[in-house]
């Protein structure tokens, strides 16, 4: 429960009626910005510095502040204490490149044309850093992991400190954190700044010797078992999606994976601390907003799954914390609002006094929520994946969830009563009712996005085209079906 004035009565609200903090769609190309799609809220002197810290593959409950006894994250815990935690934060697509492309553009993966890793961003879509440079006097910095294809961070930001290097947080995160801290402490300019800090861990869990071939140090599992977390209640040992890395793992190996994963979260926590200590000691500490989130979560053995790419909550949901000392209430755990990493550009633009990025009707500024204003908010949040399977998930304000698959199947959960998603409701009266409601969200969603056409630009791989083509066909089919159903009703 939040601070006074924070309790917004539930109302079913249609997304397209919102007009207080969203953009006016625009077809302005990047190179010829308009003076602004809507008036700026503040003069430039009021615009805060914004430090956007993103970890990689962090489970939404992988913080000790949220009651997880298997990990110690004192620095993220401090952010929780100082800021606003979105407890229902989701990524738009639980895989690195689509997720990162979306949080820099405010567009879904089917709008950016990036359904899978290594797919190139549609070059016509502007990103947040470009937009700030064109519409504000913000100085823009990036350091660390970027992972957006077909758009170099050097094209988008004024300065890149540590360019994305080897894929190991263990090796790069110390220098990435130091580079960010350095600029924050040394900077002399009066201009406000936006800084994107890409920390890699706990993503190293994908590459530990044991996880990528051979048991390696996983052979220590039996000796460290007393330190290894128990397997989750929903663990199943024989999930069909097991990767080649987990084939043959015993339950002890799975538990050692959890142990290793949480150590990697602790690693990155220290570097979050480095950056935040620098912000707190900087001259502009009182005027600097921190946003901390992750591109996607990790299976952590729930449902016998590992890593990401699927739409169960472990992969789909992420931590989301905003700190802005003196400007927004501290120690808020917001269990009410459905939040998406797609909202980051809208929020940054709102605070930076920039017009919203063009054609981003699903990207909502968090500002009214953070500042305790009672505003209508979204009815549902959406996730998409092209990894493992083609699927779309919806969660709504009744805490019900569906995963629609392209073969026509639907999984249905009441996550208020069944947070581990262990009880599928399809085929029951409750499940059928939820599906009907969520088909309405699906229709609403399809009517709000502008699908990027089948990409024709360079560097395409066959699987990009296949995934994307299948998605376009499925979405078109669903759009017709759902709109016809709506017309008849």
């Amino acid at each position: 429960m939040g601070p006074p004035g924070f309790d917004i009565p539930f109302r079913v609200w249609n997304a397209h009626t919102m007009n207080t903090t969203r953009s006016t769609p625009s077809d302005q190309p990047v190179g010829s910005p308009s003076p602004g799609n809507r008036p700026r809220r503040h003069s430039s002197s009021d615009n805060p510095n914004i430090v956007f810290i993103h970890t990689d593959q962090q489970h939404f409950e992988a913080l000790s502040a949220y009651g997880n006894p298997w990990v110690e994250t004192p620095h993220m815990d401090r952010l929780v204490k100082e800021g606003h935690s979105f407890m229902k934060m989701h990524c738009i697509s639980p895989i690195c490149v689509p997720a990162r492309t979306s949080w820099m553009t405010g567009r879904t993966s089917k709008e950016t044309g990036v359904p899978v890793n290594n797919a190139p961003l549609n070059p016509d879509i502007p990103d947040l850093a470009q937009w700030l440079r064109q519409h504000t006097n913000y100085e823009t910095f990036h350091t660390g992991k970027w992972h957006i294809v077909n758009r170099s961070e050097r094209e988008s930001f004024d300065r890149v400190l540590i360019q994305q290097g080897p894929r190991f947080g263990e090796q790069t995160d110390p220098d990435v954190a130091r580079s960010a801290a350095n600029v924050i402490l040394n900077r002399q300019s009066d201009r406000p700044f936006f800084m994107s800090v890409g920390l890699m861990n706990p993503h190293d869990c994908c590459y530990t010797a044991g996880a990528a071939g051979g048991l390696g140090k996983f052979q220590l599992a039996d000796r460290l078992l007393d330190k290894c977390p128990p397997l989750p209640e929903s663990f199943v040992p024989d999930h069909p999606d097991h990767t080649r890395h987990t084939a043959g793992w015993t339950e002890d190996h799975w538990r050692f994976y959890l142990y290793s994963y949480y150590r990697m979260v602790e690693m990155v926590d220290e570097y979050v601390g480095t950056i935040c200590d620098a912000i707190r000691k900087s001259e502009s500490a009182d005027n600097t907003m921190i946003i901390l989130t992750s591109d996607h979560g990790d299976g952590l053995g729930f449902h016998g799954r590992l890593s990401k790419g699927f739409l169960e909550d472990q992969s789909w949901r992420v931590p989301g914390i905003v700190v802005f000392p003196g400007r927004i209430p501290a120690d808020v755990r917001d269990h009410q609002h459905l939040i998406c990493t797609l909202d980051i550009p809208a929020t940054v633009c709102d605070y930076a006094g920039a017009p919203q990025l063009p054609d981003t009707p699903l990207s909502y500024s968090w500002r009214p929520i953070l500042e305790g204003q009672a505003v209508p908010w979204r009815d549902y949040v959406v996730g998409e994946t092209s990894t493992s399977y083609l699927g779309v998930s919806f969660r709504d304000n009744l805490d019900t969830k569906t995963i629609f698959y392209d073969d026509g199947n639907v999984d249905v959960y009441n996550t208020a009563e069944d947070p581990l998603e262990m009880n599928k409701l399809q085929g029951t009266p409750e499940g059928d009712s939820i599906i009907q409601r969520h088909r309405g969200w699906f229709r609403d969603y399809l009517n709000h996005i502008q699908l990027s056409p089948l990409p024709t630009w360079d560097h395409l791989r066959p699987n990009h085209v296949r995934h994307y083509g299948e998605y376009l066909a499925w979405y078109e089919r669903m759009r017709q079906e759902l709109n016809n159903q709506e017309d008849k009703s």
Binding site: N182, D204, Y207, L215, Q219, D277
Partner: protein
């Protein structure tokens, strides 16, 4: 084909299949690791480069005074042959002077971070001086300077990248300062040991092999890794460029690290440190 030859070939083929050495025909044995060099786990992250590793030999170490140069070996990925692809990303030089109970360390680390989509790398440099005291070499004062270069070869130092942190530990508080301004402060008790000074812990032969040693590790000169434990694992033998060599293995576990193995030679000098992605291999 003669009957004898047929039987001989069939037996050989069957044996290879049962051992999993003919992948197209072998039944997948999911209970076996696929990297046949994963035993022992202490060296698994560097088994790709071990065949080229010739353990340095040197005259007896004078107590408390030594200089060790390590190559920084990255575990990058598993190759088709089951061995890790190991890449040399730079070096770490650790020098210690002083008495056995009061050490002065000089550290120089030069590490290249390859840049995606760019030929060459970005060089990150760390220089540090540390003062340690007591039998466990607990830190007292230290200074760490880091900076990096623009991506590419022979590129200039990146503007604003240089930062110097001064640290101190008085037995109850760790303080980090930058330009005399307090940056971070933590409460702490017990020994605080820099990761670069752990070789001295091992070289000094002061650790009890039957009792775990507990400490807090200072990493990179500016972050704490608490609740560390170092235990003797036992003797270990493996193949190197110099043939099969006997070592001792120590296992470090704790908050914020994956299990670290320190592999020491007959003079108790750590020749190898394996973590996960970033590992040390003694060069001289």
């Amino acid at each position: 084909m003669k009957r004898r030859t047929f039987i001989k070939n069939s037996a050989l083929f069957s044996a290879l299949i049962s051992m999993g050495h003919i992948p197209c025909y072998a039944r997948r044995d999911t209970n076996r690791p696929r990297n046949i060099f994963t035993e022992p786990p202490a060296i698994e992250p560097i088994t790709g480069i071990l065949p080229e590793f010739d353990p340095p030999t040197y005259p007896p170490v004078t107590a408390g005074e030594w200089q060790l140069k390590y190559n920084l070996i990255r575990w990058h990925e598993i190759q088709a042959n089951g061995l890790p692809l190991n890449i040399d990303d730079g070096h770490l030089l650790v020098q210690r002077e002083g008495s056995p109970t009061a050490g002065h360390y000089r550290i120089n680390r030069r590490m290249g971070l390859p840049v995606w989509g760019f030929r060459g790398s970005q060089t990150c440099i760390l220089e540090a001086e540390l003062q340690a005291q007591g039998s466990a070499e607990s830190l007292r004062n230290w200074t760490v300077t880091t900076f990096h270069h623009e991506p590419g070869l022979n590129t200039p130092e990146q503007p604003d990248s240089r930062i110097t942190i001064e640290g101190s530990y008085n037995g109850s508080h760790v303080r980090l300062l930058r330009e005399n301004a307090l940056l971070s402060e933590w409460s702490l008790s017990g020994p605080l040991i820099a990761s670069w000074a752990i070789p001295e812990l091992l070289l000094s032969n002061t650790l009890d092999r039957s009792t775990p040693f507990h400490f807090t590790m200072l990493e990179e000169g500016f972050r704490l890794r608490r609740s560390q434990q170092l235990v003797y694992e036992g003797a270990i033998e493996f193949e190197t460029a110099a043939g099969k060599v006997a070592f001792d293995s120590w296992l470090q576990t704790g908050t914020g690290i994956l299990p670290i193995h320190w592999i020491t030679d007959q003079q108790a000098c750590p020749q190898i440190m394996t973590h996960s992605a970033l590992n040390w291999l003694l060069s001289n």
